[in-house]
Symmetry: C2
Subunit: 632 residues, 2 copies
């Protein structure tokens, strides 16, 4: 099962876990006879940043990053993605600081740069001799990259670009690595050639030299944050900073020595889209990371609920307790079981979805870019939302213990809260998904051609019919489940298209019509995501031949499908399920819960998080809290 969930590079992952366990830099602590690693979050942000840097240097010396930028091919990309998963299991700051350096700065050089840039920068970046950051967002413009206000002009006499921050809202903001450690940055800026704006382009600028700020660079700290305090986010002002002409990353466009602007992509929109490409890899790692954080939370919360229950029957106190305590537990357990078990089960679907996303990403072609964009947007939003919800429920299920930083679950919420808005606000991403689906719909209608792509082929088949009386076995049937998901997506896409066109017929612009239909757009985005995730589950299930495993996966798949139906009110609102059928779904969820409860511990063990990366309450928490443990 672990192989199915982790998907790839299991041995590499274990090697890296081991590497972290070997060094005191990862802050090992003994609790109740077991060793746990976790950063000391009681340190000031300044201390946490220094520790993150030291950990990166240790990992770099051990060869963890070898090939991250200089090797090519699916194998090395998967190895890197696996390592990022593993590093994030230890600490989000560690994975983010590395993500900025390798996936933003490094990818920018790789994708926007050409051979001379690769030759000059990639090896030093991989060896962490150069420390890169990625100056895209500004105080006034976050998600709206197109609106950034930094301006770069060209001085043909000196063959240099001149970068400037024209106003306070143009200061670069949230730049990871900028506050303390980065030596270089990619700067996103409007490129103004002879008074004509060519749109957003990317440049390389050095910001520190031997630890000192370079001339005409001003930097300030972003300050204390609710999480990620091990990352030194900073703000940058450019005071007519001069850089050589060669520092324009010129894969998409170039400026000749005498100042002529040249671009292979004539359409400014397409040119701009090309510059957002590295953010796709960001969304892939965020989506995958979200699943691993849910795994940590659930592994801890479920183990705690099982040990806490076991403990209550150990006769330690006066007899009345022994009689009393289990009854109290019985009062709590159904609630816990419902939320925890069902969250856990959703987790399997999320794992398969993340693996699918990683695979289409590493196998990307120019033709698949659009699909990757839409799927990564949808999955990033759904998986990160799901992660926050899972962590919240895990925290509450652990009661007060969930609030102790060393127990991780509560702390992870603050660390990962950023997920839902960075590299694209989730709500905006979901609206973009619906917009993309609508474009497909209009294209298919106009050309009177069948749907192709985004998994919408089911729209070409007759509309599925849901039986009026759903039995238990019907509810667990994958064909019914597929039909229910397809029916919802099809109907919502039809409704959405109709509403948008109705608004347009009343004279609204296309843009406005879309805005006014945002409720249906939300519903549709969710329908698309659920159906796509469900498909990855069906595909993962098909690869398994071991019968007991296949049976459990079948239960998990049904649980995922039925919980989606129970939780999205659209099934009732638009009549895909009658109230009778909805009641049958609700009942079946409870039944599935009890069938899956005996597997809970087994399933938790297959999540692939080593004990040392969980927390004391996941094991013998009485020993971990004993007086003798205080003395250690």
């Amino acid at each position: 099962m672990r192989k199915l969930l982790d998907g790839h590079n299991l041995e590499d992952r274990d090697w890296l876990f081991g590497l972290m366990l070997q060094s005191p830099l990862f802050n090992p602590r003994e609790r109740g006879g077991k060793v746990f690693v976790l950063p000391d979050y009681n340190q000031s942000m300044e201390q946490q940043r220094e520790m993150t840097l030291k950990r990166i240097q240790y990992l770099s010396e051990r060869g963890v990053f070898t090939g991250w930028l200089t090797s090519r091919g699916i194998e090395s990309e998967l190895r890197m993605l696996a390592f990022i998963d593993v590093l994030a299991i230890f600490d989000h700051s560690l994975s983010i600081k590395l993500g900025v350096h390798f996936l933003l700065w490094g990818s920018a050089i790789k994708f926007f740069g050409t051979k001379s840039h690769h030759d000059k920068w990639l090896r030093d970046t991989e060896n962490y001799v150069i420390k890169g950051c990625f100056a895209m967002s500004e105080l006034g413009h976050g998600s709206n990259v197109r609106g950034i206000e930094t301006v770069t002009t060209y001085d043909s006499k000196r063959e240099e670009f001149v970068i400037s921050t024209p106003c306070e809202s143009a200061q670069k903001y949230w730049i990871g690595g900028a506050a303390n450690h980065a030596t270089h940055t990619v700067v996103f800026s409007q490129l103004n050639i002879n008074g004509s704006n060519q749109g957003v382009h990317a440049f390389i600028a050095q910001i520190r030299d031997a630890g000192n700020l370079c001339p005409n660079i001003r930097i300030a700290d972003c300050g204390h944050k609710i999480g990620l305090n091990g990352v030194d986010n900073g703000r940058i002002w450019f005071d007519n900073v001069r850089i050589p002409r060669e520092n324009l990353l010129n894969s998409v466009a170039d400026v000749t020595p005498d100042g002529k602007y040249l671009s292979a992509i004539k359409d400014p929109d397409q040119r701009f889209a090309a510059f957002l490409a590295p953010l796709t890899s960001g969304r892939v790692t965020i989506a995958s990371g979200a699943v691993y954080q849910s795994k940590i939370g659930l592994a801890i919360a479920i183990r705690y609920s099982l040990t806490r229950r076991a403990f209550s029957v150990t006769p330690n106190g006066p007899e009345v307790l022994l009689l009393d305590y289990p009854s109290h537990q019985r009062r709590l357990l159904p609630l816990l079981a419902k939320t925890q078990v069902s969250q856990q089960l959703l987790l399997y679907a999320m794992s398969f979805a993340a693996n699918y996303l990683k695979m289409i990403y590493v196998k990307r072609t120019p033709e698949s870019n659009k699909t990757i964009h839409v799927v990564s947007s949808a999955f990033k939003a759904v998986l990160t939302w799901h992660n926050m919800r899972t962590l919240q429920e895990c925290r509450e299920a652990c009661g007060g213990q969930g609030l102790k930083t060393e127990n991780r679950v509560g702390h992870l919420k603050a660390e990962y809260d950023v997920q839902s808005t960075f590299e694209g606000d989730n709500n905006v991403l979901m609206q973009q998904v619906s917009k993309a689906l609508l474009a497909q719909y209009i294209a298919a209608q106009k050309r009177n051609k069948p749907f192709q792509g985004f998994g919408l082929e089911h729209m070409n088949r007759p509309c599925p019919v849901i039986p009026s009386q759903l039995t238990s076995s019907a509810l667990r049937n994958s064909e019914f489940q597929t039909n229910a998901f397809c029916l919802r997506e099809r109907d919502l896409l039809n409704r959405f298209a109709a509403e948008v066109s109705q608004h347009q017929s009343k004279g609204e612009s296309k843009e406005n019509a879309f805005l006014l239909s945002y409720q249906l757009a939300d519903d549709l985005g969710r329908a698309f995501s659920d159906r796509s995730i469900f498909q990855t589950f069906i595909e993962a299930e098909a690869t398994v031949s071991d019968l007991p495993l296949k049976n459990v996966l079948g239960l998990l798949r049904s649980m995922y499908a039925l919980i989606c139906m129970e939780e999205d009110v659209a099934f009732l609102r638009y009549g895909y399920l009658s109230t009778n059928n909805a009641a049958a779904v609700r009942k079946e969820v409870t039944k599935l819960c009890s069938e899956l409860r005996p597997h809970a511990l087994g399933l938790v063990s297959s999540l692939g998080i080593p004990d040392a990366f969980l927390s004391p309450i996941a094991f013998n928490w009485v020993d971990a809290n004993s007086w003798s443990s205080v003395k250690n």
Copy 2:
């Protein structure tokens, strides 16, 4: 409007806000020409604890706590509750450390103790000479107080009680104040007299003397937490600690010098219930505090969204941006407006609910205890859940700025996460609410008497009928709204009673039958809470005669009612609303949003949070982030 929301002691509140603004202890900082106060959360927990203590001492010297324990009457209780609201607006640790000292330790002396205890302890407590804590929960037993394992025996020779921690799971856990500052504690313990257990009783024990631990007391730290790091939560072990016989808090039961156990309350269940009474005041302040935190979050998020929008039309950058940026904002705003405005509107209902709860609490009588217990349980759960949701949406609406600690919204989430599980786990509280309603139902049925109490009188009237076609004006009619809430509560109570009795007829115990019906219990708890909160809204509305204000309140009330109907799937699941009517509700919510949007800033200004207690992004965030501001 502010008077309506704050409800009481407006001048006292302003005086206390002013007192905090006068002292450097409250960490004032200038940002963009405005001063803001907020603790420095980048300090280690040790530093934060010392700062909290210093702030308390400052407030104590200024007379803030005068009369909190030594005065009696509604006036002085309301003043205290107002002050707790205000202190929590500055910092949760400050209000919690004070709450433990005054409302837990102080109330225990007051309510469980008798005259000699009052004379001996209350004045020194009020003056903060004695620093008290409240040792109730243990490692092994949190919400299940009855199961605690600490044991106290009586030594009649020396006329002393002997308190002991018999096993590691009996260590007192999460005791606020115990780790560093408390000098005394109330200890909850099983009382064992001559081998017979008399259940849980409360004792006074000294734990520190002139800064040193007392003999036979061991204390350890609970460590770093995800919030509330300014509170020194600790763990206590008692090694046969001897206390004088007089230290039993004897209002409910006593032990004679020669060791006889005497109690006015014979039934151990009732005796135990008497000991939980101080937790009611905890729930009242938690519920009220939750509303104020939502106010902070919304005041910041709404002001930010308004200023951010305003900023986008200032021409700072190249022209393309000027054209481009507003369209991007238009794309975002409907989403923001929907969540923020609707959350804000719910907030008004929550304010009225909290004020109602405070009033029934300060006017409490022995007869109203049961109602206060049920209402405080329901409102504590609903208001704290709502607070977490509001803060999460505010954080996301502020984007990255919501993650900066100085901007408060994101940070408050971690600070207040504890709300949903302390002083009663929310899920457990809601189940207790449904259980209490069921008991009323059974009592009314058995005696064939009308319903009385908990607002269930509507059950005596004929079942309301919802029109099959709801027009806009019908939807905004308070009678229809009341009917919809009553219909749902009535039907769910009937269904719940039927399901429990069906399980019992199949041989399940009453307890088990209740457990198996937990889904209906959840639905019913929510129905009761929404209907009760709605009633407080109607009552608050009735006190207003100013017409424009009354009109706005009418819109707010309709918004609250319709959002409840839109969000609780029970309305569709059980057919209280047809799909057509549900669609009408959804449409009307959108309409109400746009009608209320012009009032947004005005409404925010009436929330009663002084500017200095908000954050830089609520005002001119460009100035607050400018380079000149860095130099300050």
